[in-house]
């Protein structure tokens, strides 16, 4: 999952830093993630993982770090697998 997150981040985050070496807990906003790029990042993650984030997770804090993105995805993935899309 981490590799996929980093790939989406590299594709949509528009960060100057090398995404492969960003620590899990580094603050992505401090690394230059803009609010506009965070929208594209979110949409990219939904596409890559074939999920839809519920509105409660669509917060700035969800996309603060690779670790927080992983936590959000873990939150969504089992639910998406066990319940049909409405």
């Amino acid at each position: 999952m981490d590799e996929q997150i980093r790939q989406v981040l590299a594709d949509f985050g528009r960060l100057e830093a090398d995404v492969a070496t960003i620590p899990d807990n580094a603050d992505l906003y401090q690394l230059g993630l803009t609010s506009h790029a965070s929208v594209n990042l979110m949409l990219g993650l939904e596409d890559a993982f074939d999920i839809e984030f519920p509105e409660r997770l669509l917060r700035k804090s969800t996309f603060t770090s690779i670790a927080s993105i992983r936590a959000a995805l873990s939150d969504v993935l089992p639910t998406a697998a066990s319940s049909p899309q409405s």
Binding site: G32, L33, S35, E55, K60
Partner: protein
């Protein structure tokens, strides 16, 4: 609460702001008498919580006060609103010991706080900073080219945005309290505009130094989303509501006077009724926004809230232009002339500032990205 914030504002509006509003507008000068009166009544510190010696007024009370002031003088109301936005940012966010002590000083000293969030070269995007804080031991310095700092000349302190460190990217911003005498503002140009002529919204070169403890520890993006954006849009909309109320009030007086003189024929009453309905709609929108902000409490706003608070600004700024225009149609020549009790010229000019001074297109573009994030509730 030992006193009612909206009632004090209503009294100051009637006694002080109203009588000087035309002079402030004509001369394009700060409404000094009104600001002095607000300070003398303790009105600059009303949002400071009881824990810090203030009366702890709510956003709803301050919004009502702003509307009262705006019925008499748009510029005074806008300055008061912008000041309270800065206080709200201090009150609602994590504070260093220095900023915590400053909040108590707001009660004791009643400083007027201004804002420097825009910068030359960023195209109006307040989520981008070019300037950066620099550090020397336990002191910071900041040098910022601000295209606008409303009422900067009268401000005792300015809350400015900057990149947190010299090597931070443009989006890694913080908010810093810049206080006189460590703050100097060198005016750039003049403020001779169509409306809000009393806000003295000049450009400045801001140079400041102070203790590093005057830098808010929170990310500016969070302060903006949780407090600065919703409170700004609520209080600005409250200014416009007061202006619209003043305009429709004049139209009502005009129609009433006509009805007294010729009771059998007063067609503008239909138009007045339509305008009154639009004014109710604006009033309801502002109330709904305040309720939504208060319901959110300390929670992080989501796309639904951001769409709401952005739309509030766009809709309310359009509504005030519409309502002043309706009042003009109702009053006719009496509204068009400067030498009439129904004169609407100043309100008409001020109303157009609502959509221009903070550009609606930028806000709609921000809303567009949030609309992409919205989900059906399930």
């Amino acid at each position: 609460m030992s006193f009612s914030v909206p009632s004090v504002a209503a009294r100051i509006a009637a006694d002080i702001c109203g009588p000087v509003a035309d002079d402030v507008d004509r001369e394009g000068r700060l409404p000094k008498e009104s600001l002095d009166a607000l300070r003398a009544e303790g009105m600059l510190a009303v949002m400071v919580p009881a824990s810090h010696g203030g009366p702890g007024a709510s956003v709803a009370e301050v919004a009502a006060a702003v509307t009262e002031l705006a019925t008499a003088c748009s510029s005074t109301a806008m300055i008061y609103a912008m000041h309270q936005i800065q206080v709200a940012c201090l009150v609602r966010h994590e504070r260093t010991p220095y900023l915590d002590a400053y909040l108590r000083r707001v009660v004791a000293e009643q400083p007027l706080l201004a804002s420097a969030t825009t910068e030359l070269g960023v195209g109006g995007d307040i989520r981008t900073s070019l300037c950066s804080l620099e550090y020397d031991g336990d002191r910071f310095t900041l040098d910022k080219q601000a295209p606008v700092i409303s009422y900067g000349e009268a401000a005792d302190a300015v809350l400015a945005t900057a990149r947190r460190n010299p090597d931070s990217p443009p989006s890694d911003q913080c908010l810093v309290l810049c206080e006189r005498p460590g703050l100097t503002l060198e005016a750039r140009g003049a403020w001779d505009a169509l409306g809000f002529r009393g806000t003295a919204s000049l450009g400045f070169r801001l140079a400041a130094s102070g203790p590093v403890d005057a830098v808010s520890p929170e990310d500016f993006g969070d302060i903006l989303a949780r407090t600065m954006l919703p409170v700004s849009h609520i209080l600005w909309a409250s200014v416009w509501l007061g202006m619209a109320r003043a305009a429709i009030g004049k139209a009502r007086s005009f129609v009433q006077a006509g009805a007294r003189n010729a009771p059998e024929s007063s067609p503008p009453a239909i138009r007045l009724a339509e305008a009154a309905g639009q004014l109710e709609s604006l009033t309801a929108l502002v109330s709904a926004s305040i309720a939504r902000f208060e319901a959110l409490g300390d929670d992080e706003p989501g796309p639904g809230e951001l769409v709401h608070f952005n739309s509030l600004k766009v809709i309310a700024s359009g509504a005030v232009i519409d309502l002043v225009g309706r009042a003009m149609t109702i009053c006719g020549m009496a509204g068009y002339r400067h030498d009439s009790p129904y004169s609407l010229g100043r309100l008409l000019r001020d109303a157009h500032g609502a959509a221009v001074m903070v550009n609606n297109d930028r806000i709609i573009a921000n809303t567009a990205s949030q609309v992409l994030l919205q989900r059906e509730r399930r």
